[in-house]
Amino acid sequence: MRKTYRYKNLTFPISDDKEVILEVEFVSDGNTGQTVINVPGPNDKEINNSGSKLIGKGSDLRGDSTICFSDIANLIPEEDEIRIRFKINDELIVEHVNQKSEEERPIIVLSIKFPTL
C-alpha cells in the first residue's frame, strides 16, 4: 500500500491583508510531483514539481484548514532519499524526509490553519 505522510494541526498566524505564498522546494535529486493547495473557497492552486504560488490573503484563508496535497515520485537510481521543504512566506513549516527504501512515491499532506495574527 502506498504510504501517505500527514502533517496535521499546522498553524501560520497572519494578518488579514498579508499575502500568503506557499513554496514547495525539492531538496533531494530527481523528484517529480504535483501539488494541489485546497484553500477555503474556490481558488485552489497547483504547483508543478517545485515552485511557489500565491494562495490568497490572510483574510481569504480563515475558518477551514488549507490542505496542501503533494503526489511525489523519485525515479533516479542514484538517490536514496526524498527530501522536500514546504515554506510559507519563506518560513519553513515542514521538511519532509523519507528513505526511498520505505516509499518511492510518497503522498504528503499538510493541514494548515491561518489564524489572525
Binding site: M1, R2, T4, R6, K8, E25, F26, V27, S28, D29, G30, N31, T32, G33, Q34, T35, V36, I37, N38, D44, E46, N48, N49, S50, D64, S65, I67, C68, F69, S70, D71, I72, A73, L75, I76, P77, E78, E79, D80, E81, R83, Q99, K100, S101, E104, R105, I107, V109, S111
Partner: protein, 443 residues
C-alpha cells in the same frame, strides 16, 4: 605474517558487517559485476572490456578463487573499491536536469567515479610477491536520441497527469474530512463524486467517454466498500488514495518509467583511466608506476524485446614502463605500447547476467640497436599480436551482493606466458550512497 592475517580478517569482517548493515534496509538498485578500472589494471579481473558502472555510489569487491592449494577455503587478499562522490550530496536536481544534462561537463561531474585496488600478491619476475596498488577514474556520457526523448516525454506527461488527478481528488477528500464537511460514507461519496468526475474528464483526454465513465463508476464502487470512522479517518483516506492510484495504474507506470531511466536505449560512451603503483621491495619509500591504461568503451543498449541485450566495443591503450620491467622482469618479453580492440555482448536477466568478449591486441616496442655514425641512437621496432576470449557469469545473491565467475583464454601474461587459462571467482558488495551524515564516523 601474523599482522597480515589479522589485516585480512579485519578487512573481511568489516566488509561483511557493512554488508549486513546495508542489507538491513531494502535496497532499490541491483549491483552489477565488478569492473573498476583500478582492479582491471591490477589484473584482478581478466576482462579487457569495462562494462558501464552500476548506480551504486560505493562498491567493494573481493577477488579470490576462494580455494587454496590444499583445497581449504582462503580469505581473499585482493580487494577493490569504487566511489562516485557526486551522489553523496543533494543538489536539488530536477528530473529534467537529471535526464537532459545541459552540457558534457555536467555529465563528467555527475558520473565521475574513482577506484582503488590493492593486492599483496603482485608477482615480480623472480616470483616474489609484492604489494601493488592501483588508482582509476572513469566517467560516462549518454548520447541522447529522438526516440529516447519521445519515450521520456510520454512517460513524463502520463505520470504528471496521474499525479495531478491524485492530488486534485485527494486534496478534496482530505478537506472534506479534516474540515468535518461529511458525517458518513454516503455523504462523503455524494460530495467527492463531482470532483472525481470533473478531474477525470478534464485530465484523461486520451480515454473515450465510455472508458472515463467506467473508470469513475469503478472508483465509486470501490470507495463505497470502505468503512469510515469520522473520528479516525486516516486509514480511510489512505485506502481512498490507493483506490485512485490503483485505478490509474500509477504504480505500473512509475515502475516502467523507472526501469526505462535505468536502461535508456541508445548509445553511451565510457572513458576510463587507471595507473598502477608497484612497491617492488615492499618498502613504501621505493615505488614505481609501471603501467597506465586508457579505455574508450562505446555501449549500445537495445529496446523493447531486446532490452536485455547490450553490445560494447572497446579500445584500450596500455603503456608499460620499460625501465621497471627490464629491472624486475628480466626474462619476460614486454612491449611498451599495447592497443586492445574488440567487442563484448552482454545479456541481463532478473537474477543473472552473462557476458562474452573477444579482444585482439597489437603490441609494439622500440629496441635500441646501437648508434649511427653521428652518434644518434638507432632503434628496431618489434611487433606482436595476441587474442583473448572470455565468458563471465554473474549471479545476484542479493541486490547488494554479486558473485561472478569468469572462464576463458586471456592474453599471454608477463609471467608464465603459456598460462593463459582464466578461472576466477569474485564477490562484489554495494553500499548504496553514503551521505555526509553516514560518513561522519565520529558520531
Amino acid at each position: 605474517m601474523k599482522y597480515s592475517y589479522y589485516t585480512k580478517y579485519i578487512l573481511t569482517l568489516t566488509l561483511l558487517v557493512f554488508c549486513r548493515i546495508s542489507n538491513s534496509q531494502e535496497r532499490l538498485n541491483k549491483l552489477q559485476a565488478p569492473t573498476s578500472p583500478a582492479s582491471s589494471i591490477l589484473g584482478l579481473q581478466p576482462s579487457s572490456v569495462l562494462s558501464p558502472k552500476s548506480y551504486q555510489a560505493l562498491e567493494a569487491a573481493l577477488y579470490s578463487n576462494f580455494i587454496g592449494e590444499n583445497g581449504n577455503a582462503i580469505i581473499p587478499n585482493n580487494f577493490a573499491l569504487e566511489f562516485t562522490p557526486y551522489w553523496t550530496k543533494n543538489h536539488s536536481l530536477s528530473l529534467d536536469e537529471y535526464l537532459y544534462p545541459k552540457g558534457f561537463m555536467d555529465q563528467i561531474i555527475r558520473n565521475s567515479s574513482f577506484s582503488i585496488a590493492s593486492t599483496q600478491n603482485f608477482q615480480l619476475g623472480d616470483s616474489s610477491a609484492t604489494n601493488g596498488l592501483a588508482f582509476g577514474y572513469r566517467t560516462t556520457f549518454y548520447l541522447g536520441n529522438k526516440k529516447d526523448r519521445e519515450e521520456i516525454e510520454n512517460y513524463k506527461s502520463s505520470l504528471a497527469s496521474n499525479q495531478l488527478i491524485t492530488s486534485l481528488i485527494g486534496s478534496e477528500a482530505e478537506s472534506l474530512l479534516v474540515n468535518q464537511k461529511v458525517a458518513n460514507i454516503a455523504e462523503f461519496i455524494e460530495k467527492i463524486k463531482s470532483t472525481i468526475e470533473t478531474t477525470i474528464n478534464r485530465n484523461l483526454s486520451d480515454l473515450e467517454t465510455v472508458q472515463k465513465k467506467s473508470l469513475i463508476d469503478e472508483i465509486i464502487i470501490e470507495v463505497s466498500k470502505l468503512s469510515l470512522d469520522i473520528n479516525n479517518y486516516d486509514s480511510f483516506l489512505n485506502s481512498f488514495n490507493n483506490i485512485i492510484d490503483n485505478k490509474l495504474k500509477s504504480k505500473l507506470l512509475f515502475n516502467n518509467y523507472k526501469e526505462y531511466i535505468m536502461d535508456r536505449q541508445g548509445w553511451s560512451v565510457d572513458l576510463a583511466y587507471a595507473s598502477l603503483l608497484s612497491f617492488p621491495t615492499n618498502n613504501f619509500n621505493l615505488s614505481y608506476v609501471p603501467r597506465h591504461s586508457f579505455w574508450l568503451t562505446p555501449t549500445y543498449r537495445f529496446k523493447d524485446k531486446f532490452k536485455f541485450l547490450k553490445i560494447m566495443g572497446v579500445i584500450r591503450y596500455e603503456w608499460y614502463n620499460m625501465d621497471y620491467f627490464k629491472k624486475y622482469f628480466v626474462d619476460s618479453k614486454i612491449y611498451e605500447n599495447n592497443i586492445d580492440y574488440g567487442f563484448a555482448i552482454s545479456t541481463e536477466f532478473d537474477k543473472f547476467s552473462i557476458k562474452f568478449e573477444l579482444v585482439g591486441r597489437r603490441s609494439e616496442t622500440e629496441i635500441p640497436v646501437g648508434t649511427d655514425s653521428e652518434g644518434n641512437e638507432l632503434y628496431k621496432r618489434e611487433n606482436s599480436s595476441d587474442f583473448q576470449y572470455l565468458g563471465s557469469f554473474n549471479y545476484n545473491l542479493s541486490d547488494q551482493i554479486i558473485l561472478s565467475y569468469s572462464l576463458g583464454n586471456r592474453f599471454q601474461p608477463i609471467l608464465n606466458p603459456d598460462n593463459t587459462l582464466v578461472s576466477l571467482l569474485s564477490l562484489n558488495f554495494g553500499f548504496g550512497t553514503p551521505t555526509e551524515k553516514t560518513l561522519d564516523l565520529m558520531k
